[in-house]
Symmetry: C2
Subunit: 224 residues, 2 copies
DNA sequence: GTCGTTTTGTTCAACCGTTCACAAACTCCT
DNA sequence: AGGAGTTTGTGAACGGTTGAACAAAACGAC
Protein backbone atom coordinates (compact mmCIF):
# COMPACT_ATOMS: atom_id res chain seq x y z
CA UNK A 1 0.00 0.00 0.00
CA UNK A 2 1.26 3.48 -0.77
CA UNK A 3 1.72 5.96 2.04
CA UNK A 4 -1.49 7.81 2.70
CA UNK A 5 -0.85 11.54 2.36
CA UNK A 6 -3.42 13.57 4.27
CA UNK A 7 -3.64 16.28 1.67
CA UNK A 8 -3.59 15.46 -2.02
CA UNK A 9 -0.03 15.63 -3.27
CA UNK A 10 0.62 12.59 -5.43
CA UNK A 11 0.95 12.97 -9.15
CA UNK A 12 -2.27 12.32 -10.99
CA UNK A 13 -2.02 10.73 -14.46
CA UNK A 14 -2.62 13.17 -17.28
CA UNK A 15 -5.50 11.12 -18.68
CA UNK A 16 -7.21 11.34 -15.32
CA UNK A 17 -6.64 15.09 -15.02
CA UNK A 18 -8.35 15.55 -18.37
CA UNK A 19 -11.43 13.74 -17.09
CA UNK A 20 -11.76 15.45 -13.72
CA UNK A 21 -13.50 18.50 -15.22
CA UNK A 22 -16.00 16.15 -16.84
CA UNK A 23 -16.77 14.57 -13.50
CA UNK A 24 -17.06 18.00 -11.96
CA UNK A 25 -19.62 19.01 -14.53
CA UNK A 26 -21.56 15.78 -14.10
CA UNK A 27 -21.64 16.27 -10.34
CA UNK A 28 -22.86 19.83 -10.75
CA UNK A 29 -25.63 18.52 -12.96
CA UNK A 30 -26.59 15.90 -10.40
CA UNK A 31 -26.55 18.47 -7.59
CA UNK A 32 -28.81 20.79 -9.58
CA UNK A 33 -31.29 17.99 -10.11
CA UNK A 34 -31.46 17.47 -6.37
CA UNK A 35 -29.36 14.32 -6.07
CA UNK A 36 -27.38 14.20 -2.85
CA UNK A 37 -25.78 10.78 -3.21
CA UNK A 38 -24.71 8.76 -6.22
CA UNK A 39 -22.96 5.52 -7.02
CA UNK A 40 -19.93 5.25 -9.26
CA UNK A 41 -22.22 3.64 -11.82
CA UNK A 42 -24.59 6.62 -11.91
CA UNK A 43 -21.85 9.21 -11.99
CA UNK A 44 -19.99 7.31 -14.67
CA UNK A 45 -23.14 7.24 -16.81
CA UNK A 46 -23.55 11.01 -16.40
CA UNK A 47 -19.94 11.58 -17.37
CA UNK A 48 -19.95 9.15 -20.28
CA UNK A 49 -17.26 6.78 -19.01
CA UNK A 50 -17.36 3.34 -17.49
CA UNK A 51 -17.52 2.94 -13.75
CA UNK A 52 -14.21 1.14 -13.31
CA UNK A 53 -12.39 4.01 -14.91
CA UNK A 54 -14.24 6.52 -12.80
CA UNK A 55 -13.40 4.74 -9.57
CA UNK A 56 -9.77 4.41 -10.55
CA UNK A 57 -9.60 8.10 -11.41
CA UNK A 58 -11.15 9.12 -8.10
CA UNK A 59 -8.83 6.83 -6.22
CA UNK A 60 -5.92 9.07 -7.21
CA UNK A 61 -7.49 11.94 -5.31
CA UNK A 62 -8.14 9.98 -2.16
CA UNK A 63 -10.88 7.92 -0.66
CA UNK A 64 -13.92 10.13 -0.80
CA UNK A 65 -16.65 7.53 -1.20
CA UNK A 66 -18.36 5.20 1.23
CA UNK A 67 -18.44 1.50 0.39
CA UNK A 68 -21.91 0.14 0.14
CA UNK A 69 -23.30 3.67 -0.21
CA UNK A 70 -21.59 5.70 -2.90
CA UNK A 71 -20.44 9.29 -3.06
CA UNK A 72 -21.85 12.40 -1.45
CA UNK A 73 -22.41 14.63 -4.48
CA UNK A 74 -21.61 17.94 -2.83
CA UNK A 75 -18.61 16.66 -0.95
CA UNK A 76 -17.06 14.97 -3.97
CA UNK A 77 -17.77 17.99 -6.10
CA UNK A 78 -15.85 20.17 -3.69
CA UNK A 79 -12.94 17.76 -3.48
CA UNK A 80 -12.55 17.60 -7.25
CA UNK A 81 -12.89 21.36 -7.56
CA UNK A 82 -10.19 21.81 -4.96
CA UNK A 83 -7.94 19.30 -6.68
CA UNK A 84 -8.29 21.04 -10.03
CA UNK A 85 -7.90 24.39 -8.38
CA UNK A 86 -11.19 25.99 -9.35
CA UNK A 87 -12.27 26.82 -5.83
CA UNK A 88 -10.29 29.99 -6.32
CA UNK A 89 -10.84 32.34 -9.23
CA UNK A 90 -8.29 32.39 -12.02
CA UNK A 91 -7.78 35.68 -13.84
CA UNK A 92 -7.54 35.18 -17.61
CA UNK A 93 -6.53 37.50 -20.40
CA UNK A 94 -7.76 37.02 -23.96
CA UNK A 95 -5.69 38.29 -26.89
CA UNK A 96 -7.24 38.61 -30.33
CA UNK A 97 -10.81 39.89 -30.31
CA UNK A 98 -12.01 38.70 -33.70
CA UNK A 99 -14.98 36.43 -34.19
CA UNK A 100 -13.60 33.75 -31.92
CA UNK A 101 -12.34 36.19 -29.30
CA UNK A 102 -15.82 37.69 -29.15
CA UNK A 103 -17.31 34.29 -28.60
CA UNK A 104 -14.81 33.41 -25.90
CA UNK A 105 -15.29 36.72 -24.10
CA UNK A 106 -19.02 36.14 -24.02
CA UNK A 107 -18.79 32.49 -23.04
CA UNK A 108 -20.54 32.18 -19.72
CA UNK A 109 -18.95 28.83 -18.99
CA UNK A 110 -15.69 30.50 -18.05
CA UNK A 111 -16.95 32.66 -15.25
CA UNK A 112 -19.24 29.97 -13.90
CA UNK A 113 -16.33 27.59 -13.64
CA UNK A 114 -13.79 29.60 -11.77
CA UNK A 115 -12.31 31.81 -14.47
CA UNK A 116 -12.55 35.57 -14.66
CA UNK A 117 -11.72 37.37 -17.87
CA UNK A 118 -9.86 40.45 -16.70
CA UNK A 119 -8.88 41.93 -20.03
CA UNK A 120 -9.44 41.74 -23.78
CA UNK A 121 -6.50 42.79 -25.91
CA UNK A 122 -6.11 43.35 -29.62
CA UNK A 123 -3.28 44.70 -31.73
CA UNK A 124 -5.67 46.50 -34.08
CA UNK A 125 -6.37 50.05 -32.81
CA UNK A 126 -9.63 50.04 -34.78
CA UNK A 127 -11.06 47.65 -32.23
CA UNK A 128 -9.94 49.56 -29.15
CA UNK A 129 -13.10 51.57 -28.73
CA UNK A 130 -15.28 48.49 -28.78
CA UNK A 131 -16.91 47.08 -25.65
CA UNK A 132 -17.26 43.31 -25.56
CA UNK A 133 -18.92 41.41 -22.76
CA UNK A 134 -18.74 44.44 -20.50
CA UNK A 135 -15.02 44.95 -21.02
CA UNK A 136 -13.44 47.47 -23.33
CA UNK A 137 -10.94 46.10 -25.78
CA UNK A 138 -7.51 47.43 -24.87
CA UNK A 139 -4.17 47.69 -26.62
CA UNK A 140 -1.93 44.68 -26.70
CA UNK A 141 0.75 46.98 -25.30
CA UNK A 142 -1.06 46.90 -21.97
CA UNK A 143 -0.34 43.20 -21.58
CA UNK A 144 2.57 43.48 -19.17
CA UNK A 145 0.90 45.90 -16.78
CA UNK A 146 -2.30 43.86 -16.71
CA UNK A 147 -0.50 40.60 -16.09
CA UNK A 148 1.49 42.13 -13.26
CA UNK A 149 -1.35 44.04 -11.69
CA UNK A 150 -3.95 41.27 -11.75
CA UNK A 151 -1.48 38.40 -11.22
CA UNK A 152 -2.63 36.73 -14.43
CA UNK A 153 -1.07 33.35 -15.08
CA UNK A 154 -3.37 32.08 -17.85
CA UNK A 155 -3.55 33.57 -21.32
CA UNK A 156 -5.83 32.75 -24.25
CA UNK A 157 -4.64 33.29 -27.80
CA UNK A 158 -7.36 33.84 -30.40
CA UNK A 159 -5.34 35.71 -32.98
CA UNK A 160 -4.56 34.78 -36.57
CA UNK A 161 -1.88 32.11 -36.89
CA UNK A 162 0.88 34.47 -37.98
CA UNK A 163 0.62 36.52 -34.80
CA UNK A 164 0.31 33.65 -32.34
CA UNK A 165 3.98 32.94 -31.69
CA UNK A 166 4.90 36.54 -31.01
CA UNK A 167 1.88 36.92 -28.73
CA UNK A 168 2.95 33.80 -26.87
CA UNK A 169 6.47 35.17 -26.51
CA UNK A 170 5.17 38.41 -25.05
CA UNK A 171 2.86 36.51 -22.71
CA UNK A 172 5.70 34.35 -21.44
CA UNK A 173 7.97 37.37 -20.99
CA UNK A 174 5.20 39.08 -19.04
CA UNK A 175 4.96 36.16 -16.63
CA UNK A 176 2.14 34.02 -18.00
CA UNK A 177 2.81 30.31 -17.50
CA UNK A 178 -0.27 28.68 -19.04
CA UNK A 179 -1.54 29.30 -22.55
CA UNK A 180 -4.68 28.13 -24.30
CA UNK A 181 -4.03 28.46 -28.02
CA UNK A 182 -6.81 28.66 -30.60
CA UNK A 183 -4.57 29.74 -33.45
CA UNK A 184 -3.80 26.96 -35.92
CA UNK A 185 -0.07 26.93 -35.37
CA UNK A 186 2.50 25.15 -33.25
CA UNK A 187 3.74 27.29 -30.38
CA UNK A 188 7.24 27.06 -28.99
CA UNK A 189 7.56 28.01 -25.34
CA UNK A 190 10.25 27.59 -22.70
CA UNK A 191 10.05 24.74 -20.19
CA UNK A 192 7.73 25.42 -17.30
CA UNK A 193 5.09 26.95 -19.54
CA UNK A 194 2.07 24.80 -20.40
CA UNK A 195 0.34 25.09 -23.73
CA UNK A 196 -2.91 23.46 -24.69
CA UNK A 197 -4.28 23.88 -28.15
CA UNK A 198 -7.78 23.78 -29.51
CA UNK A 199 -7.85 23.38 -33.25
CA UNK A 200 -11.24 23.49 -34.88
CA UNK A 201 -10.31 22.28 -38.33
CA UNK A 202 -8.21 19.43 -36.99
CA UNK A 203 -11.23 18.06 -35.18
CA UNK A 204 -13.23 18.15 -38.39
CA UNK A 205 -10.44 16.44 -40.27
CA UNK A 206 -10.36 13.61 -37.75
CA UNK A 207 -14.10 13.18 -38.26
CA UNK A 208 -13.60 13.24 -42.02
CA UNK A 209 -11.07 10.43 -41.79
CA UNK A 210 -13.50 8.17 -39.99
CA UNK A 211 -16.34 9.28 -42.22
CA UNK A 212 -14.38 8.33 -45.29
CA UNK A 213 -13.75 4.91 -43.82
CA UNK A 214 -17.42 4.32 -43.11
CA UNK A 215 -18.41 4.55 -46.72
CA UNK A 216 -15.72 2.05 -47.73
CA UNK A 217 -15.55 -0.71 -45.13
CA UNK A 218 -18.57 -2.18 -43.35
CA UNK A 219 -16.57 -2.48 -40.11
CA UNK A 220 -17.67 0.68 -38.33
CA UNK A 221 -15.69 2.39 -35.63
CA UNK A 222 -17.28 4.09 -32.66
CA UNK A 223 -15.65 6.82 -30.66
CA UNK A 224 -17.78 8.13 -27.82
CA UNK B 1 7.29 -7.77 -42.67
CA UNK B 2 3.57 -7.15 -42.82
CA UNK B 3 1.70 -7.66 -46.05
CA UNK B 4 2.05 -4.57 -48.19
CA UNK B 5 -1.35 -3.39 -49.27
CA UNK B 6 -1.10 -1.27 -52.38
CA UNK B 7 -3.77 1.22 -51.39
CA UNK B 8 -4.23 2.39 -47.83
CA UNK B 9 -6.53 -0.02 -46.05
CA UNK B 10 -4.91 -0.91 -42.75
CA UNK B 11 -6.22 0.55 -39.54
CA UNK B 12 -4.29 3.57 -38.43
CA UNK B 13 -3.95 4.11 -34.66
CA UNK B 14 -6.21 6.83 -33.33
CA UNK B 15 -3.29 8.81 -31.93
CA UNK B 16 -1.73 8.86 -35.37
CA UNK B 17 -4.96 9.94 -37.04
CA UNK B 18 -5.13 12.89 -34.67
CA UNK B 19 -1.66 14.00 -35.74
CA UNK B 20 -2.06 13.63 -39.50
CA UNK B 21 -3.85 16.99 -39.83
CA UNK B 22 -0.96 18.60 -37.97
CA UNK B 23 1.51 17.15 -40.45
CA UNK B 24 -0.71 18.27 -43.28
CA UNK B 25 -0.66 21.82 -42.00
CA UNK B 26 3.10 21.73 -41.49
CA UNK B 27 3.60 20.47 -45.04
CA UNK B 28 1.37 23.20 -46.41
CA UNK B 29 3.48 25.73 -44.56
CA UNK B 30 6.68 24.28 -45.95
CA UNK B 31 5.26 24.23 -49.46
CA UNK B 32 4.24 27.87 -49.18
CA UNK B 33 7.72 28.82 -48.11
CA UNK B 34 9.09 27.18 -51.24
CA UNK B 35 10.48 24.00 -49.72
CA UNK B 36 10.21 21.04 -52.06
CA UNK B 37 11.95 18.39 -49.97
CA UNK B 38 12.25 17.89 -46.24
CA UNK B 39 13.66 15.38 -43.79
CA UNK B 40 11.66 13.78 -41.02
CA UNK B 41 13.64 15.94 -38.62
CA UNK B 42 12.58 19.18 -40.31
CA UNK B 43 8.96 18.17 -40.70
CA UNK B 44 8.82 16.95 -37.11
CA UNK B 45 10.14 20.29 -35.92
CA UNK B 46 7.48 22.12 -37.94
CA UNK B 47 4.78 19.91 -36.49
CA UNK B 48 6.04 20.03 -32.94
CA UNK B 49 6.70 16.31 -32.47
CA UNK B 50 9.85 14.24 -32.41
CA UNK B 51 11.10 12.67 -35.57
CA UNK B 52 10.77 9.04 -34.49
CA UNK B 53 7.08 9.53 -33.84
CA UNK B 54 6.62 11.25 -37.16
CA UNK B 55 8.31 8.46 -39.06
CA UNK B 56 6.31 5.81 -37.29
CA UNK B 57 3.10 7.70 -37.99
CA UNK B 58 3.92 8.03 -41.66
CA UNK B 59 4.86 4.37 -41.86
CA UNK B 60 1.22 3.47 -41.23
CA UNK B 61 0.26 5.22 -44.46
CA UNK B 62 2.91 3.58 -46.57
CA UNK B 63 6.44 4.22 -47.65
CA UNK B 64 6.36 7.68 -49.12
CA UNK B 65 9.87 8.84 -48.31
CA UNK B 66 13.26 8.17 -49.85
CA UNK B 67 16.05 6.94 -47.61
CA UNK B 68 19.03 9.21 -47.57
CA UNK B 69 16.92 12.02 -49.05
CA UNK B 70 13.71 12.69 -47.17
CA UNK B 71 10.16 13.41 -48.27
CA UNK B 72 8.85 15.26 -51.28
CA UNK B 73 6.71 17.93 -49.68
CA UNK B 74 4.01 18.11 -52.32
CA UNK B 75 3.76 14.35 -52.78
CA UNK B 76 3.54 13.61 -49.07
CA UNK B 77 1.04 16.40 -48.60
CA UNK B 78 -1.23 14.86 -51.20
CA UNK B 79 -0.88 11.39 -49.72
CA UNK B 80 -1.85 12.56 -46.23
CA UNK B 81 -4.73 14.63 -47.60
CA UNK B 82 -5.99 11.59 -49.47
CA UNK B 83 -5.67 9.40 -46.41
CA UNK B 84 -7.62 11.84 -44.25
CA UNK B 85 -10.14 12.35 -47.00
CA UNK B 86 -9.79 16.08 -47.52
CA UNK B 87 -9.05 15.86 -51.21
CA UNK B 88 -12.80 15.91 -51.63
CA UNK B 89 -15.05 18.59 -50.14
CA UNK B 90 -17.13 17.72 -47.12
CA UNK B 91 -20.43 19.53 -46.71
CA UNK B 92 -21.03 20.65 -43.12
CA UNK B 93 -24.07 22.03 -41.35
CA UNK B 94 -23.77 24.23 -38.26
CA UNK B 95 -26.59 24.34 -35.72
CA UNK B 96 -26.75 27.12 -33.15
CA UNK B 97 -25.75 30.52 -34.46
CA UNK B 98 -24.88 32.30 -31.24
CA UNK B 99 -21.49 33.84 -30.56
CA UNK B 100 -19.64 30.63 -31.19
CA UNK B 101 -21.72 29.67 -34.21
CA UNK B 102 -20.91 33.05 -35.73
CA UNK B 103 -17.23 32.48 -35.20
CA UNK B 104 -17.38 29.01 -36.69
CA UNK B 105 -19.35 30.16 -39.71
CA UNK B 106 -16.75 32.83 -40.40
CA UNK B 107 -13.77 30.61 -39.73
CA UNK B 108 -11.81 30.52 -42.94
CA UNK B 109 -9.86 27.45 -41.88
CA UNK B 110 -12.81 25.22 -42.65
CA UNK B 111 -13.20 26.07 -46.29
CA UNK B 112 -9.48 26.13 -46.93
CA UNK B 113 -9.16 22.63 -45.53
CA UNK B 114 -11.79 20.76 -47.46
CA UNK B 115 -14.96 21.65 -45.61
CA UNK B 116 -17.87 23.61 -47.01
CA UNK B 117 -20.48 25.06 -44.70
CA UNK B 118 -23.73 24.51 -46.56
CA UNK B 119 -26.20 25.75 -43.98
CA UNK B 120 -26.55 27.63 -40.71
CA UNK B 121 -29.52 26.62 -38.59
CA UNK B 122 -31.00 28.06 -35.42
CA UNK B 123 -34.13 27.28 -33.46
CA UNK B 124 -34.72 30.94 -32.64
CA UNK B 125 -36.88 32.59 -35.36
CA UNK B 126 -35.46 35.97 -34.34
CA UNK B 127 -32.21 34.99 -35.95
CA UNK B 128 -33.70 33.71 -39.19
CA UNK B 129 -33.42 36.97 -41.11
CA UNK B 130 -29.75 37.34 -40.31
CA UNK B 131 -27.02 36.74 -42.87
CA UNK B 132 -23.79 35.27 -41.52
CA UNK B 133 -20.71 34.62 -43.60
CA UNK B 134 -22.74 34.92 -46.77
CA UNK B 135 -25.35 32.40 -45.70
CA UNK B 136 -28.75 33.21 -44.30
CA UNK B 137 -29.63 31.60 -41.03
CA UNK B 138 -32.43 29.11 -41.59
CA UNK B 139 -34.88 27.27 -39.41
CA UNK B 140 -33.77 24.16 -37.61
CA UNK B 141 -36.80 22.50 -39.19
CA UNK B 142 -34.98 22.57 -42.52
CA UNK B 143 -32.34 20.15 -41.20
CA UNK B 144 -33.68 16.99 -42.82
CA UNK B 145 -34.13 18.44 -46.27
CA UNK B 146 -30.69 20.05 -46.24
CA UNK B 147 -28.97 16.88 -45.07
CA UNK B 148 -30.69 14.85 -47.75
CA UNK B 149 -30.26 17.33 -50.54
CA UNK B 150 -26.60 18.17 -49.96
CA UNK B 151 -25.58 14.70 -48.72
CA UNK B 152 -24.33 16.16 -45.46
CA UNK B 153 -22.65 13.66 -43.16
CA UNK B 154 -20.96 16.04 -40.72
CA UNK B 155 -22.82 18.27 -38.27
CA UNK B 156 -21.52 20.89 -35.86
CA UNK B 157 -23.41 21.63 -32.65
CA UNK B 158 -22.87 25.08 -31.17
CA UNK B 159 -26.08 25.35 -29.20
CA UNK B 160 -26.56 25.77 -25.45
CA UNK B 161 -25.99 22.57 -23.49
CA UNK B 162 -29.67 21.86 -22.87
CA UNK B 163 -30.47 21.71 -26.57
CA UNK B 164 -27.46 19.68 -27.67
CA UNK B 165 -28.80 16.17 -27.14
CA UNK B 166 -32.05 16.78 -28.98
CA UNK B 167 -30.16 18.44 -31.84
CA UNK B 168 -27.87 15.42 -31.99
CA UNK B 169 -30.85 13.09 -32.07
CA UNK B 170 -32.39 15.01 -34.96
CA UNK B 171 -29.07 15.04 -36.78
CA UNK B 172 -28.67 11.30 -36.41
CA UNK B 173 -32.23 10.68 -37.52
CA UNK B 174 -31.62 12.85 -40.56
CA UNK B 175 -28.62 10.77 -41.56
CA UNK B 176 -25.62 12.60 -40.13
CA UNK B 177 -22.95 10.19 -38.92
CA UNK B 178 -20.25 12.52 -37.58
CA UNK B 179 -20.81 15.24 -35.01
CA UNK B 180 -18.51 17.91 -33.69
CA UNK B 181 -19.95 19.05 -30.37
CA UNK B 182 -19.10 22.40 -28.79
CA UNK B 183 -21.85 22.23 -26.19
CA UNK B 184 -20.59 21.36 -22.72
CA UNK B 185 -22.55 18.16 -22.36
CA UNK B 186 -22.11 14.45 -22.93
CA UNK B 187 -23.88 13.28 -26.07
CA UNK B 188 -25.36 9.81 -26.42
CA UNK B 189 -25.50 8.53 -29.97
CA UNK B 190 -26.11 5.14 -31.55
CA UNK B 191 -23.19 2.98 -32.69
CA UNK B 192 -21.80 3.98 -36.05
CA UNK B 193 -22.02 7.68 -35.27
CA UNK B 194 -18.81 9.46 -34.31
CA UNK B 195 -18.77 12.31 -31.85
CA UNK B 196 -15.87 14.56 -31.06
CA UNK B 197 -16.20 17.23 -28.47
CA UNK B 198 -14.45 20.53 -28.00
CA UNK B 199 -14.91 21.90 -24.53
CA UNK B 200 -13.46 25.32 -23.89
CA UNK B 201 -13.78 25.41 -20.14
CA UNK B 202 -12.39 21.92 -19.69
CA UNK B 203 -9.20 22.98 -21.42
CA UNK B 204 -8.87 25.92 -19.05
CA UNK B 205 -9.50 23.69 -16.06
CA UNK B 206 -6.71 21.35 -17.12
CA UNK B 207 -4.39 24.33 -17.32
CA UNK B 208 -5.57 25.50 -13.92
CA UNK B 209 -4.71 22.15 -12.41
CA UNK B 210 -1.14 22.34 -13.61
CA UNK B 211 -0.92 26.00 -12.73
CA UNK B 212 -1.97 25.29 -9.17
CA UNK B 213 0.75 22.69 -8.91
CA UNK B 214 3.42 25.08 -10.11
CA UNK B 215 2.89 27.53 -7.29
CA UNK B 216 3.22 24.85 -4.65
CA UNK B 217 6.83 24.06 -3.78
CA UNK B 218 7.76 20.61 -5.08
CA UNK B 219 7.50 18.00 -2.36
CA UNK B 220 5.96 20.27 0.20
CA UNK B 221 3.30 18.66 2.28
CA UNK B 222 0.97 20.52 4.59
CA UNK B 223 -0.03 18.64 7.72
CA UNK B 224 -2.07 20.48 10.28
C1' DG C 1 -23.66 -9.42 17.18
C1' DT C 2 -23.96 -11.88 12.81
C1' DC C 3 -25.37 -12.46 8.05
C1' DG C 4 -26.32 -10.85 3.53
C1' DT C 5 -26.22 -7.09 0.33
C1' DT C 6 -24.20 -3.28 -1.76
C1' DT C 7 -20.51 -0.57 -3.51
C1' DT C 8 -15.96 1.18 -3.16
C1' DG C 9 -10.85 0.92 -3.73
C1' DT C 10 -7.24 -1.85 -5.61
C1' DT C 11 -4.77 -5.49 -7.96
C1' DC C 12 -3.58 -7.58 -12.19
C1' DA C 13 -3.33 -8.55 -16.94
C1' DA C 14 -4.00 -6.95 -21.59
C1' DC C 15 -3.61 -3.12 -24.62
C1' DC C 16 -2.04 1.05 -26.78
C1' DG C 17 1.35 4.62 -27.61
C1' DT C 18 6.08 6.32 -27.37
C1' DT C 19 10.92 6.09 -27.81
C1' DC C 20 15.24 3.98 -28.88
C1' DA C 21 18.30 1.91 -31.82
C1' DC C 22 19.64 -0.01 -36.04
C1' DA C 23 19.48 -2.30 -40.58
C1' DA C 24 18.13 -1.14 -45.23
C1' DA C 25 18.37 1.94 -48.92
C1' DC C 26 19.56 5.95 -51.30
C1' DT C 27 23.03 9.81 -52.90
C1' DC C 28 27.35 11.72 -53.62
C1' DC C 29 32.16 11.62 -54.23
C1' DT C 30 36.28 9.65 -55.79
C1' DA D 1 32.38 0.54 -59.02
C1' DG D 2 32.94 1.12 -54.24
C1' DG D 3 32.94 3.46 -49.92
C1' DA D 4 31.37 7.17 -46.91
C1' DG D 5 27.59 9.69 -45.33
C1' DT D 6 22.74 10.40 -44.76
C1' DT D 7 17.97 9.34 -43.73
C1' DT D 8 14.02 6.32 -43.80
C1' DG D 9 11.29 2.48 -42.00
C1' DT D 10 10.72 -0.80 -38.32
C1' DG D 11 11.56 -4.26 -34.50
C1' DA D 12 11.75 -4.26 -29.71
C1' DA D 13 11.67 -2.38 -25.11
C1' DC D 14 9.30 0.63 -22.11
C1' DG D 15 5.71 3.21 -19.73
C1' DG D 16 1.09 4.71 -19.40
C1' DT D 17 -3.93 3.58 -19.79
C1' DT D 18 -7.81 0.62 -19.65
C1' DG D 19 -10.99 -2.92 -18.05
C1' DA D 20 -12.12 -6.98 -15.45
C1' DA D 21 -12.31 -9.10 -11.25
C1' DC D 22 -12.18 -9.22 -6.40
C1' DA D 23 -11.25 -8.20 -1.50
C1' DA D 24 -12.43 -4.81 1.96
C1' DA D 25 -15.75 -2.02 4.14
C1' DA D 26 -20.08 -0.05 5.18
C1' DC D 27 -25.14 -0.61 5.95
C1' DG D 28 -29.57 -2.84 7.23
C1' DA D 29 -32.26 -6.76 8.91
C1' DC D 30 -32.98 -9.71 12.46
Amino acid sequence: MTARTPDSARDIPEATVARLPVYLRALTGLAESGTTTCSSEELAASAGVNSAKLRKDLSYLGSYGTRGVGYDVEYLRYQIAREIGVTQDWPVVIVGIGNLGHALANYSGFRSRGFRVVALLDADPARHDEVVAGLDVRSFEDLESIVTEDAVSIGVIATPAVAAQSVADRMVAAGITSILNFAPTVLTVPPGVDVRKVDLSIELQILAYHEQRKSVAPGSEVVS
